[in-house]
Subunit: 451 residues, 2 copies
């Protein structure tokens, strides 16, 4: 803290450079404004002559406004600008209009039972912009009137409950950062390369800070039967009435009944006003537009647990209730469909996550898995949340194959496609957590490959 003895109201002394004798002489001769402009122009151009990087001239290419002696400055530097609260609720810059979620053309015959993928290739950090959160619906989405929405808790409970949103939002609240991944993320890639970009290979993945009531708080409020209540059913209020069984032991510690996402209420496409947040568990169980929780003593085998979300194994058996999303990672940039403009330095970036706990390390290979290098993990590394990794790379112009491989804190190592198919075959739909490969050609074009 600097404190100067100054009489109230007096400005502090001007810096010495403005008392340069030459400057003072010029002011006397030409007047203050003209001298200042000349002074600045001289300094600016002198500096630009010394510059070694990108063309400065482009920034000055805008036509001058008014006085031709004024430096060519862009309009945003010379104009008043827009008022505060021009947009009471803001939006991204118009220049970012290509960064949107997209349905994969032809993926589904009915767009209400389809997917809109998050554009991971253009995103940063571990928080997904809410407007870009992926969507997966089975019978479309609607804007639910929160005053009419109810949450029922019934089954093996002493005190069946029906809560309004007002009720729920008065209860003890928690906030947690978690990833959400659909069990069908990367589904297309089981047999072979199917889609070209990371948006489509991995875009059923997002991360948010969720706020709500702990599931345990609600179950205790309802007096659930701890001994017999081994399973929880979660049911949604949408047209598909999504209904899922969850094993009680998996959800009692860290599940939330959430209303908040990244500081505000959930978005309608993400379950407004209420959804289940089941950390580490596949997305379908994070029932949106949550209307009912039932405590029971055996699985319900609902329609979305039998005809779907079960894995067909090589020996003809069904693997049911896989539940936990296993450790997985992907390089989000450079990634399929992008093009490296020139050789040289790049920050290679991506995401890693695990439903079992924390990411322990991420290794990156530039030669298709022969040599591995430890990537930097951005802090904090949180349980059952996205982890952002970054690593330096100097591209020498030769073909390369980029991969990332995560190890989580249980010691689980992300498998290659070869390893995964040995266990699971090639005809699964769900739970594909194989290592992703991106090929960089000499042209700089990046494409999806499997090695």
């Amino acid at each position: 803290m600097t404190s100067k003895k100054i009489r109230p109201g007096r400005l502090l002394k001007a810096p010495e450079s403005f008392l340069d004798p030459q400057f003072i002489a010029e002011v006397k001769q030409h007047g203050f404004d003209e001298t200042r402009r000349a002074f600045l122009r001289k300094s600016f151009l002198a500096a630009s002559a010394a510059l070694t990087a990108a063309p400065l001239g482009e920034a000055l290419a805008a036509p001058a406004q008014g006085d031709p002696d004024i430096l060519n400055l862009p309009p945003w530097t010379t104009t008043l600008g827009k008022p505060v609260a021009s947009r009471p609720y803001g939006s991204p810059a118009k220049y970012e209009m290509n960064l949107v979620r997209r349905e994969s053309p032809g993926l589904a015959s009915v767009s209400q039972a389809s997917v809109a993928f998050t554009p991971l290739q253009g995103m940063f950090g571990i928080i997904t912009a809410s407007g870009l959160h992926y969507e997966r619906h089975h019978q479309g989405w609607e804007e639910i009137d929160p005053s009419r929405h109810r949450l029922m808790i019934n089954g093996l409970v002493k005190r069946p409950r029906v809560y309004t949103m007002d009720d729920l939002m008065r209860l003890p609240s928690v906030s947690r950062i978690h990833f959400l991944e659909c069990g069908a993320n990367s589904a297309m890639e089981w047999g072979n390369v199917a889609v070209p970009t990371v948006q489509y290979t991995h875009g059923m993945l997002s991360g948010s800070e969720f706020t709500g009531v702990l599931l345990s708080t609600l179950l205790e409020d309802a007096g659930f039967d701890r001994k017999r209540g081994q399973y929880l059913l979660a049911e949604g209020a949408d047209g598909s009435s999504m209904t899922r069984t969850l094993p009680m032991e998996r959800v009692l510690d860290d599940c939330l009944v959430a209303y908040g996402m990244n500081g505000e209420m959930l978005r309608p496409e993400n379950g407004y006003p209420l959804r289940l947040v089941a950390p580490g568990i596949q997305g379908v169980s994070w029932v949106k537009w949550l209307r009912r929780l039932e405590v029971g003593d055996k699985p319900w085998n609902a329609k979305d647990e039998t005809s779907q979300y079960a894995d067909l194994m090589p020996d003809g058996m069904q693997r049911q209730y896989a539940t936990i999303q296993e450790a997985k990672s992907v390089i989000t940039s450079p990634s399929g469909g992008q093009k490296l403009i020139d050789k040289g330095f790049y920050n290679v970036t991506g995401l890693a996550w695990t439903g079992r706990g924390k990411v322990k390390r991420v290794d990156v290979s530039f030669d298709g898995g022969i040599n591995w290098h430890a990537a930097r993990l951005e802090q904090p590394v949180l349980p059952k949340a996205l982890t952002r990794f970054n690593i330096d790379w100097v591209w020498n112009g030769a073909p390369a194959i980029l991969q990332s491989r995560v190890i989580d804190d249980t010691g689980f190592v992300q498998p290659t496609y070869t390893q995964l198919r040995e266990v699971r075959g090639t005809r699964s739909v769900y739970h594909n957590n194989a290592i992703q490969s991106w090929k960089v050609a000499e042209s700089g074009e990046v494409s999806n490959v499997q090695v």
Copy 2:
């Protein structure tokens, strides 16, 4: 993982309840659909008779669609819903349209040199929804063409640089969660209660995950003079050419030159495409639309460091370069302008933060500071980031005064207004971190008071 021996293609065995002999008999008599409906209606009504909580009937009040025997279900349960990617970039629910940032009426004579406040009263967690991030501009805001934007680094450097956005986004990247608070947050309250709601008393506060290049990386790239380069100047490209001195020792470790905010590019109102992120330092120094960094050996005493952002002390001295935002907290709900509907349980929630490091604890008082109770801190507690606190409260209907008080990990205790004014007088504008009091009347109405 449960594995059942099932021939491929066969559904799993139906749960026993559906093999109830009475059910089977009814199916034979009435057909499956009718039986199922009757079965569900019976169970549902039986359950609702046992309910002790809020009126279930309201949820069923919607007129029935079609078959009068069908349970009265809301339209979103019985209709197809909207397709995925209806909104390639999503928005909040229409029911949330009142949660917006607002300019305080009459605060400024020119709305380009004004403030739009974040509606803290309706928000959660430590991440601020980007569309609700507060605004503080001195000459309005514009959407800058990122292809024309440049960052210059000059002054006491061996290699002056001019970077394009493409250049910057290839450099090693980091992601960090930090709070941003204007030095003038709570300015109106120095003399007495001035504004009614937490949006206006504390709303120049937001928290985000920022992504960008470490300042140190850029300064090293430019070869800055470590010995003589004791000060950094940051200059913006907006009409106000915001220019700020920062002491090098404060910024070299954790400042970012950031392009990303909450997973996507900065918003135009928040400095798109580039801003300085100076963790823990007052908001004005987080120069938006950052175009130049200069390394120097003494402060620049720019216009926004002399005529503004200095504190007038009781003895007539100016306190300059206060820089660090000291520990501060506020209860965001219940807060001024809200009304408690009835007695009973409430989750009291708020935010705490400190520019010195981490929040260590937050205490809450319900009786104007006589008794204090430790609040829960949501995890993770991060350095120079918002911390969300929550605490249980049972309101008995009597008048109450709610306060929160933070202690940070340097041991600094948030002061009362009395304590703060003893040191700083009553005629400051900036750096007001006093304890905030909210009075709850018997009517349940909450108002801003100073005790």
